[in-house]
Symmetry: C2
Subunit: 377 residues, 2 copies
DNA sequence: GACAATAAGTTCAGCAAGTGAACAAATCAA
DNA sequence: TTGATTTGTTCACTTGCTGAACTTATTGTC
């Protein structure tokens, strides 16, 4: 177990990149004397290591950085069948990939994970020794201990202590997390939001997910439901949603919804890319669908900006294509629906991601617990 | 200056009410030994005092509570002319009230405050000695140091270091804050949100304000704009708003908007109460206006719930009347627009407040800085 | 009414994590 | 070569906390 100062140091480095002991001391409000000891301990533990030497006036400074091979983590996504598994190092780099069959029975899942682990670890014998955590991403609500799945429609679960079950079967420290929240943690720890304290990730795919970082910490909400923008009413009296309401964002602005709308309108498109192509050659129906979907997503994001004033919005998309009409409409809708004085003040980044995104996010949940810990330090 | 443990103790008591040393120690994760000293110091400082003795088995416990007369604070609202001023104690109780003329010149305001202070303090000579801070509530954006007004349309300000100016003139530690955020702090410190870590306050009056507490701390947003729900687009292609967009919440769901809509529709109502009366006797126009306004406010609050999953929504209203049709419609619109599984999960409290609310909020900003401090301890 | 049982709060020696000042180390600039 | 400069370490000392033993104030029981 790391001390609170050690964790703080790791957090600062993870936010700012490699830093010298003196700079670290200053930015943590500690003396150089204290810093010296903390750094020494972390280096001994193998978590930190000296990297570049920076020459200036006076004695050169030695930058400290996370030691990539200081710890390894496993991440598993329960969002697809087969379920992707990844092995990542302390820098979030993916070292190995595997797939395992999916099940809806927690005990079976734990068994399948235990079975698949040796193959994942086979290529890197040292990773097995330093395996420091396992993360699982799933669609549903997770408690703040990242141990129990409170509710998952997709998996048909209610109060399943999945982390404990997996931990018993594998012997590895396990944490679970909601899919969108896991992606947000991964962006904070290893991605493009490292140094941003307040931001939201919107994951655009078959569904629309969202998660907030506030004050440098994942904000889970009072019932774990923060960021569930998919079912906000975006088209009053719109189409019925499977949730029971009407006009939810999810009925218009997910890839699934776009495909369904295309089908309903008699288009033969089976992907967003195809629909974009149709629109680019002037297909009025395709253009209308993209406008409707993009306008809805943009409006929701504009609300997010007005409500929470984040420092960045990161839109991740798997199959999507944000360079075409859809992306343009989203951008325009955002700009048109935030307070004019705000417009352009909030950076919107879009990022194409591969299908590893959920497993990566899962691994970063384990990494986050190892580096920064669960507590509000 | 208080230590971090002293501040933590004060925060726990402010959240939970009077507690014994032993309970405090347990809830702060400290030993009874440490607690003993911390409590002794705070009692010596006059901030804490022993109150009730609770008898059970064993030695009775002595509850510790904030000493109301341990410190006093001044709060001023720059939202009305004349500007209300209050003197409050450490429990948030209002001890004295005054008014002072309003100005738009920061230097003049500081002078007017300095002039008005003696009269406010006249009745309580001890308060003058223990005056520990001054807070100012205003409409506009305030930086996170609660020192500079970044932007205020109402006052015509841009980057005004108001806190410093007032402090120089009066010699009192001064903090400024946005009106809605000040009210949220006052509800957290002294009101009905004491023990709630995540909540939002929606202040319904001439305009619609909102502020969030997240993780027990005021969340200001990246540019200080968190909670600015007044200009979220709630009626796409709705009426033009003075902000330049269309269909903002502010154009439908503020008291000002309701009055304007009534006037435009030819009703002679000059207050929400009158409009409610018309509606109760079956005036179709009045009913329509109240439905439109209530539906809009409810939808915005539903979005707030979906986006942030707060533990409570507190609606404060000055002139408003939430027992009538308007309140009912708001409630219904909230329920109808949150994920059905969520419905009823988020407590909505409405609270009628007097016109002191802004000045009280301002005083609580000063109290918050005294008790808990500006730092994320 | 005496006396155990119980729990609150205090005291005190000791420990862990920090500080400040002095110092050693490694470089650049003159 | 020497001085200036800045990094990082060492060391004596302070601070805030802990654990254990103790004192204190009460209830319950015989």
């Amino acid at each position: 177990m790391l001390t609170s100062s050690q964790r703080q140091l790791l957090r600062v480095i993870s936010e700012s990149g490699p830093l010298s002991r003196t700079v670290l001391a200053a930015s943590m409000g500690l003396s150089k004397a204290a810093m010296s000891g903390i750094a020494r301990d972390l280096i001994t533990l193998g978590v930190l290591h000296e990297t570049e030497t920076v020459y200036g006036q006076g004695r050169p400074s030695i930058l400290l950085d996370l030691h990539p091979e200081g710890a390894f983590f496993v991440g598993i996504s329960l969002l697809e069948d087969p379920a992707p598994m990844v092995l990542s190092d302390l820098n979030g780099k993916i070292i190995a990939r595997e797939n395992m069959p999916l099940s809806r029975d927690p005990e079976v899942i734990a068994g399948l994970i235990a079975d698949a682990l040796p193959k994942l670890l086979a290529r890197r014998p040292d990773a097995a020794d330093k395996l420091s955590g396992l993360g699982v991403a799933l669609s549903g609500f997770v408690d703040e201990k990242q141990a129990n799945c409170v509710q998952s429609t997709l998996l048909g679960w209610q109060d399943v202590p999945l982390a404990k079950i997996i931990r018993q079967k594998t012997g590895i420290e396990t944490f679970i997390e909601n899919d969108a929240k896991a992606v947000a943690v991964s962006e904070k720890l290893f991605g493009s939001a490292r140094d941003i304290q307040n931001f939201s990730v919107v994951s655009f795919g078959d569904g629309v997910g969202c998660a907030h970082f506030i004050g440098g910490k994942l904000y889970r909400g009072n019932h774990g439901g923060a960021g569930e923008i998919a079912h906000c009413t975006i088209e009053p009296n719109g189409s019925p949603c499977r949730c029971g309401k009407r006009g939810c964002l999810d009925t218009v602005a997910s890839i699934k919804a776009i495909k369904e709308m295309s089908k309903a309108e008699g288009l033969a498109c089976t992907s967003l890319t195809e629909l974009e192509e149709e629109a680019s050659v002037g297909n009025a129906v395709a253009i209308r669908i993209l406008h409707r979907a993009g306008g809805a997503l943009g409006l929701a994001i504009a609300h997010l900006i007005q409500f929470n004033d984040p420092g960045m919005i990161l839109i991740t998309h798997v199959e999507g294509n944000f360079d075409g009409l859809f992306g343009t409409v989203v951008q325009q809708a955002i700009e048109a629906n935030v307070l004019p004085r705000y417009a352009g003040q909030t950076p919107i980044r879009t990022q194409r991601v591969d299908s590893d995104i959920w497993a990566r996010g899962a691994a970063s949940i384990a990494a986050h617990n190892f580096l920064i810990g669960p507590n509000p330090n």
